[in-house]
Every structure is written in structure tokens, then in C-alpha cells.
């Protein structure tokens, strides 16, 4: 979330789209209820299903799964065509006026630079026009045909209400009503918040779904505002913490881009990631990359990391290929993987195309499962009849189960969706021989290191040289780890403006990332968490609910990264002179000498408004990108592409270009493209989702949850049920090209047929929570049916839109 949970109460309009907050986030949803009750806010829900969120909404509109960009592109067109944008904001705080390379083109569904053979774009023509000093050229009149504003206007002119309705199936009148409601928040003193979740990410255009919404929020001037922002509601209690700490392959902790094979030396690696400012006077905060990275190396390798050896840069693994979840299982499926350590992860249930995952697991030599529960993955080899047919004799994978404790059985921290890190304390001992994850990993590490020390091996240095500064090496305490993540001074850290002034003495905990250095004098395991455990102690353990701001900022409750800032980009809540757009919801303001107010300013505190330092400090241009010259592999502007399994004959936006049916830059593995279904055989759109009664694949093990939602079901509309002769409560069989399952049919008015591109589209809704282990009645893994293809940028699998057929079982 750019904002935070409590801040939802400050919104005038709450859009729930690409998610179902009431269902998946019932506790956080209280702030939606609060905004409605106390602020007279309106709640709008756009979803293929009439959801629990819709049940308490002011307005609901249906949408075909996988057509969100068509809908949101239509909103952009509406805002531009009806002049419902926050002009001053857009002109000053976005790249609307920036000039783009004249070679940039968008033609018949493809951006310039496309290489069909590689399914990749060369982004050269997407770049800014630079002047002699290396600054971007701008056109303040916004009239140049090459300026972002005009390019955007041309791009979205095609997304008329008629087109939206034809592609997304949303009735035109419903779409326009929502446009009107959204447009009202273009006023400086009105804000909209958007709450989304996996309903946007789990598409092959997932990242672009979210970008489209970010563009809308920028056009409306809702970024940086109380009650505004783009708010990802994260799933697992600590999934935010997991991404922050880099438990995926693309980045190092704190979202530091990970080195790849091409980054031969530390100097090359740092140079590529340390941008120069693209406009005068901008903070260009990523220029500090070397400080963050060097401090990380010092935290990892301690005294072994020196300036002379490039702070052990050579010890870091260099990415040679993709290591996202689909890439891992593809590699496993090809038999190119020996072992897999599966910690707090149940991939057999939660990765798409179960048959492929099963086949992959069966090719491993060993599988280690670290989990508090008896997961399906740990028993992939066991025959559970129709729910998991398997021949144990034919599977040679050796499976080790290491029972771990759960979060309530150990100290630690959770980072919530609003980036607030909150310490939690152990409430009970774990059962039986369960150990904490930390202890299990520390135990494995100690044994492995001993083996490397004894036997050497190909490259023992990074293992032998890893800093392991814990009091009890086999049992690092979570507090020690938290202090290490925060970081400390290794030598006295002095003020660059006054070297006689010591900011942190050697050995002291650092107060924030401004104190990090690139000379090896500081260590920090994650720069964005720096400040959470300063000399003042564990700030994540703070529990002061006092809200002196009236906005629910509660700055002394836990610690929010970065720098305890609760609303990101909050400089944008003020006009160019530093006055709040809405004084009744002041986040920060310029008081004549400094920035301050109800939040930690996301701005250099002494940056006078007339200096023109813009709010989006993480971009070298200082402003937000309506047009993204980099970082998006599939286009600088979002465009509607069909899901890889589309119920239509093609992309109605580009009916004559077979290359532009689905995301042209999404990665597809050989063999998978052929396995995607065609609408003539599998005519119904399926979408998977969660229910409030359960949490993923955990709570089916809990009796109380099982009582409230005991048995697997699928949902279909009344019209489809009539066509297929399916009555409420009947058992039905659902098939995709990858497998089939049977479940109880819930026939409902909440899933209705939509008119899309001249035909009728039915949706089959599939809750995910069942499996062959647990207190519920046994069920099928829903991902038996889902396709093995992901978002072009994040590789998140397309769980939300694929094709099935259905019949009475």
C-alpha cells in the first residue's frame, strides 16, 4: 500500500476492484465500513462476481475476468475526454509534459521495438528525449504530439464506453456511472482509494492492471493524499515482509536489483543501478544505491567484506536465468533440479497446473518440507484416490519433513500491507518436536558449513565467510536478527556537512538509512528497514494507539518503512507552494522553514518549494510516470490483451493481429502454448478465488473453519445452470486441458452471463481452499485446472482467467 489500512477511513470513494476486501481482508475492511459510516464515503465494487464486498457496496458492476485494462483504459479516456483531471497536479507531479523519442509507436496492438521470435521488446524508442545536459525535454503546453500527455490521450481514445462494454461486458450505463463517481475525486479536496489484491496480479497483464490504476490516481491527483493511493492488500500476514526481505530471486533485500551474469564487476553492477537525475534539482534518491548495497554486503559478510575485495561482490550469486516460481517448476519438470527446500510453501496446491508440478516433484532426488502443517506437497507421492492418484513405487523422490512452529509459537515481526512492521511475542510452545524456522535453517547452515570446512567443495568461500554473529549460533534470536536487519555503525559515522559531528558511534544501532555509507563503515541487512531498531530500541514493539493527527496516522504504533512514513509520496498532498490541497486532511505542509505535519515528509525536510524538488523521489525525474520508459517489459502504456485462454476468437481491440491476442511479451514455455484451451472446446471462463471462512490451504486443517465451510464447491450462474441442467447442490465435473475435478454446484444470481463481443460469456467461480489433507471433506486441488503462464513482469501465474467446460457429474 502506498497508504495504510487506517487511512482508508479518510477516503471519499473506495473502489474495490481486482480484489474482494471483505472476503479476503475482513479485519482491514472495517476501515471501509468506517469511511462509509463516518465520512459518508461511497463504496464501488467491480468484479466478475457479486462478492461479499459488493454486498455492502453502494454500487456494483460486473466485469469479465481478464478485462480490467479495457475497463480502466476506458476510465482514463473518460477523465481526459471530459476534462476531469487535476490539472496542476498532473502538470507538475507527473511526466505528462515529458517528450518521448520520436520513434515511439503503437500499431495494431504492438509497441515499437517488438521482436516476435524472442517475445521481447527493445525499449530504445520508449525513452525520453534528452537535452545536452542529460535532462529530459519537456513541453509545458502539453501540446507536442510527442509529449506523454498527447501520446496517452491518443492511446486511450480507442477505449470508448462502447468498446469497454463490448470487451469487458460491463453494461455501458454502469460503466459510465462509475466513471462519474471516480471523476468527482479529481477535485483537490476529494480522494479515492483503490483496494486491490490478487484479482489484478494473477493475470498475464497483472503488473499493467495495477499501472493503469496508478495512472488514474495520478490524473485525479490522488497519490500522496490521505484517503488516496494505490493500495495492494497483501495476503499472508507477513507476505509484505517476505517481499521486503527478498524471498524471491529478482532482488536482494530492500528491492535492490540483484546482480546477473552480465554484471561482471562491482563497479559495473553499481553504475548500472545508480541513476543520474533526469531533471534539475531532483532528489534522485536511488543515487544512494551503493550505500545500501555496500551496507548489505557488510551485514552478510562482516569483516570479510573489504574495499579491496569489492565487499565480496564476487561471492554473490549472479543470476543466469529466471528463478521465479514458474521457472523453478519448469526446470524441475525438465529434470534439471536435484533438490528442493520448500519452506512455508505448499506448491502442489498453490502453483498452477498440478500435474506438471507433480511430475516435477517426482523427478527430484530429495524434497525438504519445512512447515507446521501436513501439506499436500509433502505427500504428493501418496495415493489419495481421485483427489491425488499416485503410485509411490514409481516415485523415487526422498521427502524430508521438518516440522516448524507457527508464528504464534515464536517471537518475530509481521509487516502488514501498510508497511507497518509490528513485533509479536511468542504465545505458546510449539507441539512435539517442532522447531522455529530460524532454528531449523541455522541448524542446516551449521551442518553444511561444517561439511564445506571439512571437504572444501567447488566454492566454499561464501559459506565459510558468511557472518554469523549470533550469541547461540544454532539458535539466532529473532531480536538479534531484527537488529542486524536494521544495521549498525562499524566505525563512527559523521555528518557529511560537518565531519566533527558524530551521528552514530561505532557499534551503535543506526537511526535510519540516511546514515548508511558506501565505504564499509556501516552494516544494514535491509536499508528500507533501517530505523526500526535504533539506539532507542525496538520501535516495531511500540503500541501507542494515540492519534494526534485525526487521520489515523498513529506514528508511535510499530514502525513503518521507509523512515516510519505512513503515506508515501506525501509531498504530493500539497500544491507547488507547499500548501495542502485539502487542509482538512493535512498530511504534511511547508511551514516556511521546513516540511512537517502529520507524517514523516517524503521530501528533503529543508527543500524550499521554489527549488522545485518534486515528490516522486525514487524516480530520477522526480515525477511520476504516466508513461514508463523502463521497468515494464510489456509496454510503456497499459494495453488490453486477452488472457492466454480467451473465450473470444481474438483480441477485440486488435482483431486482425494474431500476435496481439494475449500479452506479446509474456513468457510461455515450449509445450504450454499448445496446451492452452480454445473456446470451442472449453467455452467458459473460470476464475479462482478465496473465501472468508478459510485461509489458503491452512485452515482446512482447523475444525472451526471446516464447520463454517466444509466442502469444495464451484459457483455458476442461473442461466448456465439451466442450459446444463444443473440444479443447486448437484455434483458437477469441471474440466480444463490440464485436468478435471468434481465439486458441489452453487447456483447463484451473483454470477451472471455477460454480453462480450457479440456473444454470451458464462463464468465458473472456483474457490481454492480444499485439498486431500485436512478437517474439511477431502477435495481437489483447484490448480489442477490452471494454466502454466504468468505475468510478463512478475511471472505471477494467471489463476484468475482461464477456460473450462462443465457438466453434471
Amino acid at each position: 500500500m502506498t497508504n495504510h489500512w487506517v487511512d482508508i477511513k479518510n477516503a471519499d470513494l473506495i473502489l474495490v476492484m481486482g480484489g474482494n476486501a471483505a472476503e479476503a481482508h475482513p479485519c482491514g475492511f472495517k476501515w471501509v465500513v468506517e469511511a462509509k459510516a463516518s465520512r459518508k464515503a461511497k463504496l464501488v465494487v467491480v468484479d466478475p462476481r457479486f462478492t461479499r464486498s459488493a454486498a455492502v457496496s453502494d454500487f456494483y458492476a460486473p466485469i469479465r475476468a481478464g478485462s480490467d485494462i479495457a475497463f480502466l483504459g476506458g476510465v482514463i479516456r473518460y477523465l481526459l475526454a471530459n476534462d476531469k483531471i487535476h490539472h496542476e497536479y498532473v502538470k507538475a507531479f507527473t511526466n505528462a509534459a515529458f517528450l518521448i523519442n520520436e520513434g515511439f509507436q503503437f500499431e495494431d496492438g504492438l509497441f515499437s521495438g517488438y521482436d516476435a521470435a524472442k517475445r521481447k521488446y527493445d525499449t530504445a524508442t520508449w525513452q525520453y528525449q534528452l537535452d545536452g545536459q542529460g535532462f529530459v525535454k519537456i513541453d509545458e503546453t502539453l501540446q507536442s504530439p510527442n509529449c506523454v500527455f498527447q501520446i496517452m490521450k491518443r492511446h486511450y481514445a480507442r477505449y470508448t464506453p462502447e468498446v469497454v462494454s463490448r470487451v469487458a461486458g460491463t453494461p455501458r450505463a454502469d460503466f459510465l456511472k462509475i466513471c462519474e463517481m471516480i471523476a468527482e475525486t479529481a477535485a483537490p479536496n476529494r480522494t479515492m482509494t483503490i483496494c486491490y489484491a490478487l484479482g489484478w496480479t494473477q493475470h498475464t497483464v497483472g503488473s499493467q492492471n495495477i499501472r493503469t490504476m496508478a495512472m488514474i490516481q495520478l490524473l485525479l491527483g490522488n497519490m500522496g493524499m490521505a484517503g488516496g493511493g494505490v493500495n495492494a492488500l497483501r495476503g499472508h500476514a507477513n507476505v509484505q515482509g517476505i517481499t521486503d526481505q527478498c524471498l524471491y530471486s529478482e532482488v536482494l533485500p530492500g528491492y535492490l536489483s540483484a546482480p546477473a551474469d552480465a554484471d561482471k564487476t562491482r563497479a559495473e553492477y553499481l553504475a548500472k543501478r545508480t541513476p543520474k537525475p533526469l531533471r534539475p534539482n531532483q532528489m534522485n534518491f536511488p543515487q544512494n544505491f551503493p550505500k545500501w548495497h555496500t551496507s548489505l554486503m557488510k551485514a552478510w559478510y562482516g569483516n570479510a567484506a573489504t574495499a579491496e575485495n569489492g565487499f565480496c561482490y564476487d561471492w554473490l550469486p549472479k543470476k543466469d536465468a529466471a528463478y521465479d516460481v514458474l521457472a523453478l517448476f519448469e526446470r524441475m519438470h525438465q529434470g534439471k533440479m536435484n533438490g528442493f527446500v520448500c519452506q512455508g510453501f505448499n506448491p502442489l496446491a498453490s502453483v498452477s497446473h498440478k500435474a506438471k508440478v507433480t511430475a516435477g516433484l517426482a523427478k527430484l532426488k530429495y524434497l525438504v518440507v519445512i512447515d507446521p502443517l501436513a501439506t499436500e506437497t509433502a505427500e504428493f507421492w501418496k495415493d489419495y484416490g481421485e483427489f491425488n492418484p499416485a503410485d509411490p513405487a514409481a516415485i523415487q523422490t526422498e521427502v524430508f519433513r521438518l516440522p516448524s512452529t507457527c508464528f504464534a509459537e515464536q517471537d518475530g515481526s509481521f509487516t502488514n500491507s501498510g508497511r507497518v512492521i509490528q513485533w509479536h511475542w511468542k504465545a505458546a510452545d510449539g507441539p512435539g518436536e517442532a522447531m522455529s524456522d530460524v532454528d531449523i535453517v541455522a541448524g542446516l547452515f551449521a551442518r553444511l558449513r561444517a561439511l564445506y570446512a571439512k571437504d572444501g567443495g567447488a566454492f566454499p568461500d561464501p559459506v565459510l565467510g558468511l557472518a554469523w554473529p549470533y550469541r547461540i549460533p544454532q539458535r539466532p534470536h529473532p531480536e538479534e536478527i531484527a537488529m542486524e536487519i536494521n544495521g549498525k555503525a562499524l566505525a563512527d559515522v559523521t555528518d557529511p556537512k560537518d565531519p566533527t559531528k558524530v551521528l552514530a558511534k561505532a557499534g551503535e544501532q543506526l537511526a535510519g538509512f540516511a546514515q548508511l555509507r558506501d565505504d564499509g563503515s556501516t552494516a544494514s541487512g535491509n536499508w528500507i528497514y533501517c530505523g526500526m531498531w535504533s539506539q532507542a530500541g525496538n520501535l516495531t514493539a511500540r503500541r501507542d494507539p494515540a492519534d494526534l493527527t485525526g487521520l489515523g496516522q498513529t506514528l508511535n504504533w510499530g514502525f513503518a518503512w521507509p523512515a516510519n512514513r505512513r503515506i508515501l509520496y506525501n509531498r504530493a498532498s500539497c500544491d507547488l507552494a507547499g500548501k495542502p490541497w485539502d487542509p482538512s486532511r493535512t498530511v504534511i505542509k511547508w511551514d516556511g522553514a521546513k516540511w512537517g505535519g502529520n507524517d514523516i515528509p517524503d521530501m528533503r525536510p529543508d527543500a524550499k518549494p521554489e527549488e522545485g524538488v518534486m515528490p516522486f523521489i525514487m524516480n530520477p525525474e522526480g515525477v511520476a510516470r504516466l508513461f514508463a520508459p523502463e521497468r515494464m517489459v510489456d509496454g510503456p502504456l497499459p494495453e488490453h490483451y486477452e488472457p492466454f485462454e480467451t473465450p473470444l476468437d481474438g483480441n477485440p481491440m486488435h482483431p486482425n493481429n494474431p500476435k496481439a491476442v494475449s500479452n506479446p511479451a509474456a513468457r510461455v514455455y515450449p509445450g504450454d502454448l499448445e496446451s492452452f484451451a480454445k473456446a470451442k472446446d472449453f467455452p467458459y471462463v473460470a476464475t479462482t478465488y478465496r473465501l472468508v471462512e478459510h485461509f489458503h490451504f491452512w485452515t482446512k486443517h482447523s475444525l472451526l473453519n471446516a464447520i463454517t465451510q466444509p466442502q469444495q464447491f464451484v459457483e455458476i450462474g442461473e442461466e448456465l445452470a439451466r442450459e446444463k441442467g444443473i440444479a443447486n447442490g448437484d455434483r458437477v465435473r469441471v474440466r480444463s486441458t490440464r485436468g478435471q475435478l468434481t465439486a458441489v454446484a452453487v447456483v447463484t444470481k451473483r454470477l451472471r452471463a455477460l454480453e462480450v463481443d457479440g456473444r454470451k460469456i458464462h463464468t465458473v467461480g472456483m474457490p481454492i481452499h480444499w485439498g486431500f489433507r485436512g478437517a474439511t471433506h477431502p477435495g481437489y486441488i483447484t490448480n489442477t485446472l490452471t494454466p502454466f503462464v504468468g505475468d510478463a513482469n512478475s511471472q505471477t501465474p494467471e489463476f484468475k482467467a482461464f477456460l473450462v467446460n462443465i457438466e453434471k457429474a
Binding site: A22, E23, P26, C27, F29, K30, V33, E34, K36, A37, K40, F50, R52, S53, A54, A55, V56, D58, Y60, V692, E693, L703, L704, N705, A706, I707, T708, Q709, P710, Q711, Q712, F713, A727, N728, G729, D730, V744, A745, V746, V747, T748, K749, R750, A775, T776, H777
Partner: protein, 296 residues
């Protein structure tokens, strides 16, 4: 225990006068249907607090689970899909005991002290006195009490009288994540409901209103309804609930007659005993009965 902390206002099948010295505040639970997302956290809290675990049931084609109240499920969510004025609504009502001011269950109950009403308005079953006759269900205009197969006694929501007695809100109120459930004095709850109704009216629900039916002299569980003119849309919430005439008859003019009949019965038994001695069951008959009732 409750005897010490909660005064009893009424007691089933009892004529002894009830205590009247202490002044109690009447309490109420307010269920705001317009803020309820049907998450069932209240169901789980109820099961946890009251140590209830019903069986893992089946999906019967709706989200309702358990599908009905049982002796071990004292509150359930009832989901209704409604097409109204061209728009779909999903009405979700938390069902359970309404704690009537004039409780039909208590009136119908023939077992002394099996049902009591506290001065604060809570109606509670005291199962140790329950004879399992099921009359409370006949007496209830809301179809709430359920007889247990296990002990043949009737059960229902207690409004967490044990929690309320020590100044805590009921478990369901405590756990409700959206704040759709409220608890306090009945007066305060009515006042809060007024604000909610005004909000709903401003959102186009012209007939929003409070459900506090006069047919049972009001209830200590009240609903804020978007469509107060159509309570029946909410999974059959009665339009104008009243105690069954059967109960009125049974507890009204026939009561002295019934007592007379019963007394005559007792007298007849006595005569039979004196004249013929006690009834005896032969060993064979006993064995037969045992065989018939033994589970397979």
C-alpha cells in the same frame, strides 16, 4: 452463579414472586445488516466461547454453514439473493435468539426454572431443569431453540449472559471485524440505529428501519434493515411475530383445566398403586427393548 449477579425477572412454570429491589439496565444487541459481510467470525466466536463444535457438514448449494441452527450452533448466517428494482442485493442475516421482551419459549415451558428472563432482558435456558418437551420451540415465533440428540435438552444463544454478567460484551460482538454488531443498553442501541438508518436513507434505502417487533413487546436483539418494510426478504424474518395461539391457549384459560386433568391423573395412579401395587416389567420385555435400541 448467574443467580448472584443477574436478577431474574421471570422464571418458567413458577409462581414465586421474582426479586424486584435492584435496578437493572435493559441491554440489547444491534445487528446492522448493512455493515455485515457474512464472514461468520461471530459463529466461530460463539462456538469457541461456548465450547461448541458441531459436525462438519456439507455444502448444500449455498454459503450457509452450518445450514441451520442446532443445539451446537447457536447462531448462523443466512444468505439471501434478492433482485430488487433491477439490482441484485445479497442480504446476510445473522440468525439466533432474539431475546424477546415477552418470550414465547418461557411462556410455553412447563419445566420450572428451565427458562428464565433476567432483569436486563436476556432470556436463558437452564438445561439442568429442561425436560426436553420441545414446547419452547412451539412457543418461539422465530424458530430458534433446538433439542439436542445427545441429551434431549433445548439449547439456544444465551447472549453470553456469563460475559454480560461481568461487564463484557457477548463473544460475537467482541469478534465482529467490521463493527456490524453492537451491544449496550437498549436505549443506546436504538439511538445508534437511528444514525445508521439516516445514513441508509441518504443512500437510497427509503424504507430502512429498525426491527424491534411489538408483537413480542420488542426484542433484545434488534436488526437495522435496509428494507424494514420487508423483513421477510431476510431469510424469512417474520413480518409481525407473535406467540403462537397454542401457547396462549395452553398457558391461558386451559391451564387450570390442564392442571385439573393432571391432578386427576396423579390421583388415578395413586389409586392404581394402592389397589394393584407397582407396575412391573418382565425381564423378556426389558431385553427386547434393549435389543431394539442398541446401535448397529
Amino acid at each position: 452463579m448467574v443467580w448472584q449477579s443477574l436478577d431474574i425477572r421471570r422464571r418458567s412454570a413458577t409462581t414465586t414472586p421474582m426479586p424486584q429491589v435492584r435496578e437493572s439496565t435493559e441491554v440489547a444487541k444491534l445487528i446492522d445488516i448493512s455493515q455485515c459481510i457474512g464472514c461468520k467470525a461471530c459463529q466461530v466466536a460463539c462456538m469457541e466461547w461456548n465450547d461448541l463444535r458441531c459436525e462438519v457438514g456439507y455444502c448444500v448449494g449455498v454459503y450457509d454453514n452450518p445450514p441451520d441452527l442446532t443445539a451446537k450452533a447457536w447462531t448462523v448466517m443466512r444468505f439471501t439473493e434478492l433482485e430488487n428494482d433491477g439490482r441484485l442485493e445479497w442480504l446476510i442475516r445473522k440468525d439466533g435468539c432474539m431475546h424477546c421482551q415477552d418470550p414465547g419459549c418461557l411462556k410455553a415451558c412447563p419445566a420450572p426454572g428451565a427458562i428464565v428472563q433476567y432483569a436486563n432482558g436476556i432470556v436463558e435456558f437452564h438445561q439442568e431443569h429442561c425436560i426436553g418437551c420441545d414446547y419452547c420451540l412451539t412457543g418461539c415465533p422465530f424458530n430458534i431453540p433446538r433439542l439436542s440428540d445427545q441429551d434431549h435438552k433445548a439449547y439456544k444463544c444465551t447472549l453470553c449472559s456469563d460475559r454480560v454478567a461481568v461487564g463484557q460484551v457477548p463473544a460475537c460482538i467482541k469478534t465482529c471485524p467490521t463493527g456490524a454488531l453492537h451491544f449496550g443498553s437498549k436505549e443506546d442501541m436504538k439511538e445508534h440505529a437511528e444514525q445508521r438508518i439516516a445514513d441508509l436513507k441518504s443512500r437510497g434505502f427509503a424504507n430502512a428501519g429498525l426491527y424491534d417487533p411489538p408483537g413480542v413487546e420488542g426484542t433484545h436483539v434488534m436488526y437495522v434493515l435496509q428494507h424494514a418494510d420487508h423483513p421477510e426478504w431476510y431469510a424469512g424474518l417474520p413480518q409481525d411475530p407473535a406467540i403462537s395461539p397454542l401457547v396462549e391457549v395452553w398457558k391461558g384459560w386451559t391451564k387450570p383445566l390442564a392442571i385439573g386433568v393432571m391432578a386427576a391423573g396423579v390421583l388415578a395412579s395413586l389409586v392404581h398403586y394402592v389397589m394393584k401395587g407397582p407396575n412391573e416389567i418382565s425381564k423378556e420385555t426389558e431385553k427386547e427393548v434393549e435389543n431394539e435400541t442398541r446401535p448397529e
